[in-house]
């Protein structure tokens, strides 16, 4: 049954049906990817899975959100083998082009959510990957990111939305970034499995072998040890084998071995190394990495937990508002301390105030339109802006005062031992200088600085005072 009017070919790659236009990829021909941004969805004819994988990877790994967030559908005439990696990356499948009408609802839903996003460019690669991940999860309403067993993956498990960003050899970095996203509160995890990776190249394609503990050769031969009771001779089975028949004869007393448990027994097994002639019972287990060919004891492998991840509310909000930088990125900015360190120092300052009853202040400088600002700046420029902001603030405060990033858009500053009025004045001067700096550096960039300066109250806990200060910037 056909639900909609038949489709029309507008060009070799573009297909239209009603108000929708699709990029239609078939016959192993690849259209210019930037064209995808101008259409509602991508339809890929499935004839060769490797080709499909290639196209899907190319679309999803693109850096332009208008491309990587575009819905993708597979045109499958026959039922194919289950390919979970590809299934995860696409938004559905149809059996013929006549069924396109069935997926338009899905396209609408995705595009509505896509349009609600405020994608910012990110300071670091890590932040960029996290941005892509949470955007893809949000747009597709994907609450859980499950690891998929994947023989092609260098980790044996794939997170397709992560794997698209990495070369096969660098896939282990995906785990690091997922952990980072969890630390940032974007994702919440549950243990799923553990993988052991090569300590040299982080590959997981290992060949596990029992090896000689002396020379690490796997060329070993096991043998039963035989004890002949009457004469006490003990040796490997080959000592007892004779060349005439398959019976066992004692090399010491020439008696024929007849009955196990009565005239002989086998007290143990021994391994002989054909490489170095060492005899041993307790072999080592080595893992040979099939990627970098290092051959090491399994104890040297690095254990990594594979987890399932859920997008948190914070993650969803970050997807909508834009995610610029990880804590790690802003912690690295010269002249600042970590936010946790800032809190500790604030706590001690409050303790000091209890004794001296002096005047100290806490100031927050917030970039109100950070999403727009960062989306206009590249990663390098963003990092430069961070540095410049900090350097301007630093030049206006005393060297004993401390600066920390609370988030990529909010900076907190302690201004100790000065009256509140002066602190307010300094804050005002700093904002002026910062605005001038931005104006002089970027022609058409408008930055809305918002500030709040409060006098420290030694009767209130430091965390409460910080919460109150930053409440309006959250």
């Amino acid at each position: 049954m056909k639900h909609f009017e038949t489709h029309n070919y507008k060009s070799n790659f573009v297909l239209e049906q009603g108000q929708y236009s699709y990029v239609y990829i078939r016959n192993f021909e690849i259209p210019p990817l930037e064209e995808i941004a101008d259409h509602d969805a991508v339809v890929i004819e499935v004839k060769n899975l490797d080709f499909v994988r290639l196209i899907v990877n190319a679309v999803r790994s693109n850096l332009d959100p208008d491309i990587y967030l575009t819905p993708i559908f597979l045109l499958k005439k026959d039922v194919l083998d289950d390919v979970p990696y590809i299934e995860e990356l696409v938004d559905g499948s149809i059996k013929s082009l006549d069924d396109l009408g069935f997926v338009n609802k899905e396209i609408d839903k995705i595009n509505i959510r896509k349009n609600s996003l405020n994608i910012t460019s990110s300071v670091s690669f890590e932040a960029q990957v996290i941005t892509k991940l949470i955007a893809l999860m949000y747009v597709r309403e994907l609450k859980v990111l499950n690891p998929i067993p994947d023989k092609y993956s260098n980790l044996y498990y794939s997170f397709p939305f992560m794997a698209i960003n990495f070369e096969e050899k660098e896939e282990h970095l995906a785990l690091k970034i997922l952990n980072l996203a969890e630390e940032e509160g974007m994702l919440r995890s549950e243990y799923f499995d553990r993988v052991y990776l090569c300590s040299s190249c982080s590959g997981s394609h290992m060949s596990y072998r029992e090896v000689c503990p002396k020379c690490s050769s796997s060329n070993t031969t096991p043998s039963d040890i035989i004890h002949h009771f009457p004469c006490g001779y003990v040796g490997p089975m080959k000592d007892f084998s004779n060349e005439i028949d398959d019976k066992l004869d004692c090399p010491k007393c020439n008696k024929r071995l007849r009955h196990i448990g009565v005239d002989y027994d086998k007290p143990s097994v021994i391994h002989h190394c054909n490489n170095c002639s060492h005899n041993f019972q307790d072999y080592n287990v080595n893992a040979k990495c099939m990627s970098c060919h290092t051959d090491r004891s399994v104890e040297t492998l690095k254990a990594h937990d594979i987890k399932t991840y859920r997008l948190t509310k914070k993650g969803e909000l970050a997807a909508i508002k834009g995610f610029t930088s990880t804590s790690k990125d802003i912690e690295d900015v010269m002249g600042t301390v970590k936010y946790d360190t800032f809190k500790t120092m604030l706590k001690y300052e409050i303790e000091r105030l209890k004794q001296t009853l002096g005047d100290s202040n806490l100031c927050a400088i917030h970039i109100g339109n950070s999403s727009q600002v960062y989306s206009k700046l590249g990663s390098e420029l963003q990092r430069g802006v961070f540095k410049d902001l900090v350097s301007v603030i630093r030049s206006n405060i005393r060297s004993s005062d401390v600066i920390a990033f609370w988030s990529s858009s909010t900076i907190v500053v302690s201004m100790n031992d000065i009256p509140h009025k002066i602190a307010l004045r300094i804050t005002g001067e700093m904002v002026e200088l910062l605005s001038e700096l931005i104006k002089s550096s970027f022609d058409d960039l408008e930055v809305n600085f918002e500030t709040k300066t409060v006098a420290l109250d030694y009767r209130k806990p430091h965390e409460m005072q910080l919460r109150e200060l930053l409440a309006e910037f959250d």
């Binding site: 001779y233 040796g235 027994d265 007290p267 021994i270 002639s277």
Partner: protein, 436 residues
């Protein structure tokens, strides 16, 4: 007491030389001549030989280090795990370095497998073989031997410790005489001050065993390479295909090497310390086993040594004959002496008994002091033992003699050694059937 003393003084006054000999012939003929006079002469000869051969010995030592052959150290045993770390550590301190250590765990039911494996992993021992089924000491030693790669084999007991030049010293005799097939090390008592029984054994090892081995070695009739510390040429052990089932396998292998025409040497300066049984009960058990093996191996399995045939050798004959005569025959002859004294000299028996004790004690003191001039360095101060020397008469003359007598009779008439749980029944049953 006064009466006894008075009677004894009167007895001494009646003693003429002829009468003295009539009453104490056993001491003069067998004890004084064999265990003091002859030993003293041989010790002197031995000293002279050592002095004249000092350059040859130094040359042998030099050649040992020049050739630097691989030496396999075999440590078979059951439930010896607790000693292994200390032993392996002490072996790593040896002056002779080219060694491989092979430990065979003969079906231990304690922590030995775990300890052995971890020492092997740590590289303190080269090969650890765990046999799940206990096969007895001989099978464990043979198992280690089968996988040994060294040109020389040293057999150790795990509960012993060794001077840091002991391995070097025990190997030197092989380089002094290429007809030497096996060398025994000098075993002393480590726990000599633990109890009276260990002190008495300390004196026994110190005064009798070491001296006895020095003398018999000089005479070419040395007969037991101690299982606690013995070295062998690997090719000789290969010809023999290792040890036969015990107990008493160390004496057995020594005879087998002798029968192959090789010499046995004693390295008195290759020192080993062992822990001896610390109660009289445990000592009885050990000595019954040792003494039974004399009958089993010397008088049964290797009786052919005493029979003139194609492979007859005087040194082997004398070695076995001396051993049987002084340990078995004279042991029973002593009872004859006792019987004569009780029958014909009953009124004088107490006085004869006291005199015998005094004679033996005096001899022990003289021997102890004089022989100390011939002994190499010791691990214990001699003065410690002086107080205990009077006890040796009862220890050696009564206690050990009684144990020996029981052991010989048990073995003669009941072949009790085959029932000894020291060896698993599955192997002993074959030994008994084959008469070995």
């Amino acid at each position: 007491m006064e009466g006894i003393l008075d009677s004894y003084m009167r007895f001494l006054a009646t003693l003429t030389p002829a009468y003295f000999f009539e009453l104490f012939w056993f001491y003069f003929v067998f004890e004084f001549i064999r265990y003091f006079f002859l030993e003293f002469i041989v010790l002197n000869l031995y000293k002279i030989k050592s002095w004249t051969q000092r350059d040859k010995k130094e040359d042998a030592r030099r050649r040992l280090f020049l050739e630097n052959p691989l030496v396999s150290i075999l440590i078979p045993g059951k439930n010896e795990g607790k000693h292994l770390y200390k032993l392996a550590n002490s072996l790593s301190e040896q002056t002779y370095k080219n060694i491989e250590i092979i430990v065979v765990d003969d079906g231990s039911d304690d922590e030995t497998p775990i300890i052995g494996r971890s020492l092997e992993k740590a590289g303190l021992i080269d090969t650890f073989i765990r046999n799940e089924l206990r096969g007895g000491k001989a099978s464990a030693a043979n198992c280690a031997l089968r996988f040994a790669k060294g040109k020389y084999i040293i057999h150790l007991d795990a509960d012993c410790s060794y001077d840091n030049d002991a391995m070097e010293k025990i190997l030197i005799p092989f380089f002094m005489d290429n007809r030497v097939g096996g060398v025994g090390g000098n075993v002393s008592v480590r726990n000599y001050n633990e109890s009276l029984v260990t002190t008495l054994q300390g004196i026994e090892y110190f005064n009798t065993i070491t001296t006895g081995r020095t003398v018999t070695s000089y005479l070419g009739i040395y007969r037991i390479i101690s299982g606690a510390f013995g070295a062998f040429r690997a090719d000789v052990l290969d010809q023999l295909k290792g040890w036969d089932i015990g107990p008493g396998l160390d004496g057995d292998i020594t005879v087998k090497i002798r029968k192959k025409g090789y010499k046995i040497a004693f390295a008195e300066d290759a020192n080993c310390l062992t822990s001896v049984p610390n109660t009289f009960k445990k000592l009885i058990k050990q000595r019954l086993r040792w003494d039974k093996s004399l009958v089993r191996f010397r008088m049964r399995k290797h009786r052919d040594i005493l029979i003139p045939n194609q492979s007859f050798k005087y040194s082997n004959f004398i070695s076995a004959f001396e051993n049987i005569t002084y340990n078995v025959l004279l042991n029973f002859k002593w009872y004859v002496y006792l019987g004569i004294m009780l029958t014909y000299y009953r009124p004088l028996f107490l006085n004869i008994f006291i005199t015998n004790i005094l004679l033996y004690t005096a001899t022990n003191y003289v021997k102890f002091v004089v022989y100390s001039l011939y002994r190499p360095k010791a691990h214990v101060s001699m003065s410690y033992f002086l107080v205990y020397l009077p006890c040796m008469v009862l220890y050696y003359g009564m206690y050990l003699r009684a144990v020996r007598t029981v052991a010989y009779l048990q073995e003669f008439f009941f072949k009790k050694s085959y029932q000894d749980p020291w060896n698993p029944r599955k192997t002993s049953i074959h030994g008994e059937y084959l008469g070995i």
